[in-house]
């Protein structure tokens, strides 16, 4: 038992370095003096760039660092008063639960209730106590009805909740979660974070979540930590942390949309705006216009610059495509899709709706059971995958599935070499890939040893090096921080600008609003929507059916339409420009518009 005054987590000047991967190398320093105290019942979010040491810090809390990882450990970590260096991991498991990003490798049993009883069994608890704890843990995560199900057959969000319940059943004082929502669809993310906020509030469990979910963190967390250069760089309530816009941007962390919007509005109008959440933004902006006369405002943003004239022939054609897996599960049904060169198509839909199955038809990995798929007019059924790979590059969700070479340079060279290109062309493409993703320092390192963000970059670089005409990406940004995501997307956009096609699967609605020229929504193997992102957000029926989340700024813009905001606003930048136009139209501000967004001022 811990006393009320004893902190749930206390870390004093923690330094940690991983043992070197290479025999002659130096230990890899990750943590450089972390100090932290977390009280019981606090819900703390840990932000930081990929490879900033978030996972390491999480693992230090249950003793995996250093007991399982070795390396150089200095400083002290106490969890509920226990020194993690003095207690083995399996002992610490009574006090601290650790949930990992990938549910697949933490679920070990065949039934949900057995999964949850596994920890208590290991603790040697009596049967009636276990019964009570299993029931309690399932109730706490809202999965009472799932007792008898197989964990392997649940959705991603449900799997993570089972993993959380499995930890709860050991009645930990502290629950640590490492990117628990990175692979989940919006509905799954919301359910997991909601459960966590409840646990902290009602069960007084100290919760520490490493995550990149800025908008949700801003809403749920009591405190936000930012890990920067191996130290806790910021430690304050969400509103105070997110107020430090310049620093967060410099550190590559990104901002919740409400904060970003306030920042952009301030920049544009010269007036001070600061929003902690969209509700506040709504009230402030509403009161601002209530006092002003209603101007005549265009009903919609001017149409975006017309897409440069595209050749009429579609590059990718799906005609009445149906596909069933050998076990009879029908994954696609009557899918028709024509994609022209230069389009940026985002594929949306809940987990298990057939997005990946559809994507695998685009380079012949799967061949349709009925209907046909044409790539540049060639039927995929009569082509080899290796041939189609020259036309359509495919970046898989998990970079580890495609990485195998001894060095990063070899990895990138693999595709061009297989195409039998001359050695100097290969070398040229490798150099271009290394430069594009700033991977030059790692040229001769094994890619498997890089951090997860860098492994994704290597995987993308390796595919781009083959110079395909179209690029298919399966969830390329899950778990990436704001800057890594932006760098990755910049490479994709650059590819797209060369009149080459991008087809991207994601749960990240930010990618839809910022980059997509077209959205295709799949539900249960059928296309239920195919059109511009602006039109998608008008279709509440589709959004609900596909369990898609509307980005906060889009929701705000729609609520403000009666106040004269034009339709079709998708991003904070568009919002700020439209609001500025709105204010200028009745002379509230006179500041000259910034040159590059002048198109919004035309009306």
């Amino acid at each position: 038992m811990i006393s009320p005054t004893q902190p749930a987590i206390r870390i004093d000047d923690l330094h940690y370095a991983y043992p070197s991967y290479l025999r002659e190398g130096q230990p890899v320093k990750v943590l450089r003096g972390v100090n932290l105290t977390v009280a019981a019942g606090e819900f703390v979010a840990l932000l930081g760039r990929v490879a900033s040491g978030k996972s390491t810090l999480c693992m230090a809390l249950n003793g995996l660092v250093p007991h399982a990882t070795g390396g150089v450990f200095r400083g002290q970590v106490w969890v509920a008063g226990q020194d993690t260096r003095r207690h083995p991991i399996s002992d610490l498991a009574r006090t601290v639960g650790l949930v990992f990003q990938d549910p697949e490798t933490q679920l070990t049993q065949m039934r949900v209730e057995d999964e949850i009883a596994f920890g208590p069994e290991n603790l040697g608890l009596p049967a009636d106590e276990m019964e009570a704890r299993v029931a309690w843990a399932l109730r706490a995560v809202g999965l009472e009805a799932y007792r008898d199900r197989s964990p392997l057959r649940l959705s991603g969000g449900e799997k993570q909740r089972v993993a959380i319940a499995a930890m709860l059943a050991m009645r930990p004082r502290v629950l640590v979660l490492d990117e628990p929502t990175a692979n989940l669809d919006p509905a799954g993310k919301a359910s997991v974070l909601g459960v966590l906020a409840n646990l902290a509030r009602e069960r007084r469990i100290a919760i520490l979540v490493a995550t990149q979910e800025l908008d949700r963190v801003a809403r749920h967390a009591d405190r936000v930590l930012v890990l920067h250069e191996g130290r806790i760089g910021m430690d304050a309530p969400p509103a105070d942390v997110f107020a430090q816009v310049a620093r967060l941007q410099e550190w590559g962390i990104g901002l919740p949309q409400a904060v970003e919007l306030g920042h952009l509005l301030t920049q544009r109008t010269g007036r001070p705006y600061r929003f902690d959440d969209m509700g506040q933004a709504f009230h402030i902006l509403c009161s601002e216009v209530r006092t002003a006369p209603q101007p005549s405002i265009p009903a919609a943003l001017p149409a975006p610059a017309p897409v440069p004239a595209v050749p009429a022939a579609p590059q990718i054609m799906l005609e009445e495509v149906a596909f069933s897996y050998p076990d009879g599960i029908e994954a696609l049904c009557g899918v028709n899709l024509a994609v022209r060169p230069g389009e940026f198509v985002v594929l949306l839909g809940p987990n298990g709706s057939g997005k990946t199955t559809l994507a695998k038809h685009l380079n012949g990995l799967l061949k349709p059971c009925r209907g046909r798929v044409l790539i540049d007019g060639r039927d995929t059924r009569s082509e080899r995958v290796a041939e189609l790979a020259h036309q359509v590059g495919y970046v898989f969700q998990n970079p580890d599935h495609q990485i195998f070479s001894a060095t990063v340079a070899d990895e990138i060279a693999f595709g061009p070499r297989i195409q039998n290109l001359p050695p100097d062309t290969v070398a040229q493409r490798v150099a271009a890939g290394l430069a594009r993703f700033r991977l030059s320092p790692f040229t001769d390192l094994p890619p498997a040893l890089l951090g997860s963000g860098q492994r994704r970059q290597v995987a993308l670089a390796a595919v781009l090096a083959t110079q395909p005409q179209a690029l298919v990406l399966d969830e390329p940004t899950g778990g990436l921080d704001a800057r890594s995501r932006q760098e990755l997307m910049e490479a994709v956009v650059a590819f797209n600008h060369e009149q080459r096609t991008v087809i991207l699967i994601t749960h990240d609605m930010g990618i839809v609003t910022e980059y997509a020229s077209r959205t295709v929504v799949l539900v249960s193997g059928r296309i239920v929507f195919d059109g511009a992102p602006q039109d998608l957000f008008e279709r509440t029926d589709i959004l609900q059916q596909a369990r898609l989340a509307v980005p906060p700024v889009v929701r705000l813009a729609r609520r403000l339409q009666p106040c004269g905001l034009p339709r079709g606003v998708l991003t904070c930048a568009e919002f700020a420009a439209a609001w500025q136009a709105r204010l200028r139209s009745y002379g509230a501000i006179t500041a000259a518009p910034r040159g590059e967004e002048a198109r919004n001022d035309a009306g």
């Binding site: 002992d91 498991a93 990992f100 070990t108 065949m110 009596p126 009879g328 790979a389």
Partner: protein, 258 residues
């Protein structure tokens, strides 16, 4: 999305409800009988009994068909090899170049294939109707150390997961232009090298994570005697089934010996 990773399918039939130790006893008895007589008919009969149990347990026929389809190439190969090379002496039935095909070769081949088929069905029945937790509980109740039981269960569980992983890695490599559809066997084998390396890396990664996850769940906590949430108890149906199985085993042995 490979959805079907494990062999076990849950159904609410009495076959499923039987104690895992009873099912293990069935595996032993059925295997003994299939090998007791050097007779393909007996082995085939054991296979038919298994199929009957599949039907009683309401295991979907699709799965059995798929399993058998996977087994057929292997069985054909075994049959051909036995008939061609392990025929032994006897009346020559047919001569394929230098290879004599004898009657005993044919019998041997057929017997071996029938036994393998029976074995395959017995174990497939066992794995389809016994979930991994019950299996481990069964073994542990029979005095196997818990760590062994868990290791076995995880291994069984991870075989299909690794098979799925192999498929994913293969697809990822093909998507990068690796031609795995080559005609020649050796070329194809060489082409698979990158697939295997990526797969080993992934497998090591997930193996490490699994180990961490188990430790984080207090597996092997010091000074603790592990308890079992729902200990196994034999019920009436189990006793009846056990008695029947024992009876069948004794009868079979007596028949064979006498």
């Amino acid at each position: 999305m490979p959805a079907e990773f494990d062999i076990y399918v849950r159904r609410n039939t009495w076959v499923y409800a039987l104690d895992p130790r009873v099912k293990l006893a069935f595996v032993v008895v059925a295997t003994v009988i299939a090998f007791l007589w050097p007779n393909a008919g007996v082995a085939a009969a054991v296979g038919v009994v298994c199929l009957a149990f599949f039907w009683l347990a309401q295991v979907p026929a699709v799965r059995i068909v798929r399993f058998l389809r996977g087994l057929v190439p292997f069985l054909v190969m075994v049959w051909l090899l036995t008939v061609l090379f392990a025929g032994g002496p006897g009346r020559v039935w047919l001569r394929l170049g230098p290879l004599p095909i004898t009657a005993s070769g044919l019998t041997q081949g057929t017997l071996l294939v029938a036994r393998l088929l029976a074995l395959g069905l017995i174990f497939f029945l066992w794995l389809s109707t016994t979930d991994q937790a019950a299996m481990v509980r069964g073994f542990v109740a029979l005095r196997m150390p818990y760590e062994w039981g868990l290791t076995l269960a995880l291994a069984l569980r991870y075989v299909p997961i690794f098979a799925g992983l192999f498929g994913q890695v293969r697809e990822a490599q093909q998507a990068r232009g690796l031609d795995l559809e080559q005609r020649q066997f050796w070329q194809r084998l060489r082409a698979y090298r990158p697939v295997l390396i990526a797969m080993i890396i992934s497998a090591l990664r997930s193996g490490e994570r699994l180990g961490w996850a188990l430790e984080a769940r207090a597996l092997g906590a010091q000074g603790v005697r592990r308890t079992v949430w729902r200990p196994l108890r034999l019920r009436r149906a189990d006793f009846i089934a056990l008695t029947l199985l024992t009876g069948v085993l004794i009868a079979a042995i007596l028949l064979r010996v006498l």
